[in-house]
């Protein structure tokens, strides 16, 4: 089997929500591919559409008010949007698993961990009760929970935040999924626990060969984890590149602004931080032009009147900007002169 084969392909995905004030295009014409064994980082601020994109892949958009209004999602050759509810349930949890910021969204507070982990493999892998229990203990060990044989009969509240996150990862990985979608998996955790969990995901990925989509607002987290990165803003992909390209030569003013606005502990204090002015746009009142134009230091008249093209500035590196080529060249030369 070709190692670089595409595992997941999202084409022109449109996920809309009907609200009292009109239609919110939470995800608007988003396309990307994920190769087997790859870690894809999706970066964006709240409301950028990064979580909705992945809930669409899992077919977990509540309808109504949500609706996948267009596009295709192909997973290992299968059209996920055409699948029956039963068909998608067989994929979800078994071949594609998801972990969230808050483990309690996946864990039932009233059931022992043994029951919750066992249910998954009894359903998807046809385990007997005894097999399921043994497998669950094995999974808890895999994610680094000490004393797994006795901890398995605990309830979720008997674990700390970091340990609960591990339990959720154990549950997500218990059917050996091909794709793990991690939505802000460390955002609620302390930094020393975040380091543990990220290390765990890296380690499991290396051992099990799982492909990972890592959704985060933290550019630091994806820098150390992802092979490729997608930057989203206002429901659109603003930039897509390999991790090294994105950080060394960003081709979109929004990405550039985000990178410059993160304080770097290695650098001296004193200089004010670069700040992106203004606020994200109201999704109900998007104009015809670039949704970032009002906050952009490079914007010209055309940015407000015409929607920007998605320009490929280098192989595998694209940016949604009227001046993508110029911004890219500017980043490259700034990097060389440093």
């Amino acid at each position: 089997m070709d190692d670089n084969a595409t595992l997941l392909s999202v084409e022109n995905l449109k996920t809309y929500f009907a609200t009292e004030d009109g239609v919110v295009k939470a995800v608007d014409d988003v396309s990307f591919q994920l190769r087997r064994g790859e870690t894809l980082g999706i970066v964006g601020e709240s409301g950028s559409g990064k979580s909705i994109t992945n809930l669409s892949v899992m077919r977990l958009i509540p309808a109504p008010p949500g609706e996948i209004a267009g596009g295709t999602i192909t997973f290992d050759g299968n059209d996920l949007l055409a699948m029956s509810e039963e068909g998608i349930r067989a994929v979800r949890g078994k071949r594609i698993a998801m972990i969230f910021q808050d483990p309690m969204t996946s864990l039932n507070p009233f059931l022992k961990i043994s029951k919750q982990l066992g249910e998954v493999t009894r359903l998807h892998l046809g385990h007997t009760r005894a097999q399921a229990r043994a497998h669950a203990i094995e999974m808890l060990r895999t994610v680094g929970i000490p004393d797994a044989e006795s901890r398995i009969d605990s309830y979720p509240h008997e674990f700390s935040g970091g340990m609960r996150q591990r339990v959720m990862i154990a549950m997500a990985l218990s059917c050996d999924p091909e794709l793990l979608i991690a939505d802000e998996p460390t955002t609620a955790l302390d930094v020393t626990i975040q380091a543990q969990i990220l290390e765990l995901i890296k380690d499991l990925k290396a051992r099990l060969g799982t492909s990972v989509i890592l959704i985060t607002h933290d550019l630091g987290v994806v820098a150390g984890m992802a092979d490729r990165i997608i930057v989203m803003y206002a429901g659109k992909i603003f930039e897509q590149a390999t991790t090294s390209e994105l950080f060394s030569a960003p081709a979109n003013p929004y990405t550039k602004g985000l990178l410059r606005s993160v304080p770097d502990p290695a650098h001296e204090k004193g200089e004010p931080l670069y700040q992106i002015p203004g606020l994200p746009p109201d999704p109900l009142r998007l104009g015809p032009g670039c949704p970032f134009a009002d906050r952009c230091d490079r914007a010209e008249d055309i940015c407000r009147s015409e929607f920007p093209p998605f320009v490929e500035v280098a192989p595998g590196h694209s940016s949604l900007c009227h001046f993508a080529g110029e911004v890219y060249e500017g980043s490259k030369s700034a990097n060389i002169s440093q």
Binding site: V191, T192, I193, E199, G224, F247, P280
Partner: protein, 344 residues
Amino acid sequence: MNSSDENLISLEELAVYYRSSRGFFSGSVAVKAVDGVSLDIRKGETLGLVGESGCGKSTLGRAILRLTEPTSGRVFFRGKELTGLSKSQMRAARRDLQMIFQDPYASLNPRMTVAQIVGEPIRTFGLANDSVKDRVHDLMETVGLSRAFSQRYPHEFSGGQRQRIGIARALAVEPEFIVADEPISALDVSIQAQVMNLLERLKREKGLTYLFISHDLRAIRHLSDRVAVMYLGRIVELGDAGDVYADPLMPYTRALISAVPVPDPIEEGRRERIILRGDVPSPINPPSGCHFHTRCQYAIPECSQITPALVEIKPRHEAACIRISPSNPDIAENAARNLGAIGI
């Protein structure tokens, strides 16, 4: 040691214990949220207070302003003891001491307009010489809000704008000292930079002194002149921000700083990360001796018996660890040297 007249705030053995009921019949136990903290905050500086959740950093911030009553210890503001003041005296003193909260939405009255929220402390303290309205408009513009918004309610604003309202309210009484408790944690990345820059500008323009409380080590580094690291109720390291980040002395500080993800893939690939074992222990029954010994790779038996004092290891750089001293400040070297001696 600096002369005391330079210190705006001084804490002497400040402690806050909570009663926590353990079970039905077993009675209650004391949770030592803040456990004997002595600290000076110098006029005009930003002291960054960093630590993980449950370490007591917010309780310490609140105890300084007596929003949470200290169990023991003393707090001084410009040499005057705050801990001895009556309730009404303390209310008057709060004119000089203000707080900015993490969740501005929870701390702003949803039924009041911005003009009322920002104007309230001005009226309470009878501060406005001219009209309160003009003063409110000035404050709004100072924090980057259009005065056209003054009749709006908190829910009509974004998170970043609400934080600006909270800052305007804190500034309304022209305080000298502000405790900023996780003021940017709930905000989006692009908005965090705006609020950090605003805090810096206000400090410069108004000569403010900040206690900046955060778990975000990048923000702490950016804003702070000095940094105090807190672990389970105690300060374990204190020094100039540059020194603490470039040359952390305590093993806990080292792990904390090494755990921060850096937005630079080359740097991320290169650096050695110290992964701590286990979680932060419960403050209900913290480990004996040095609270950190259960997670410390350098711990020796004595670490569970002796409570380390915060001592100056390098000039203006203090740490609480029995395994380091001014003559042997590097714990990794000490550990390597002593391997034979302690029989490992």
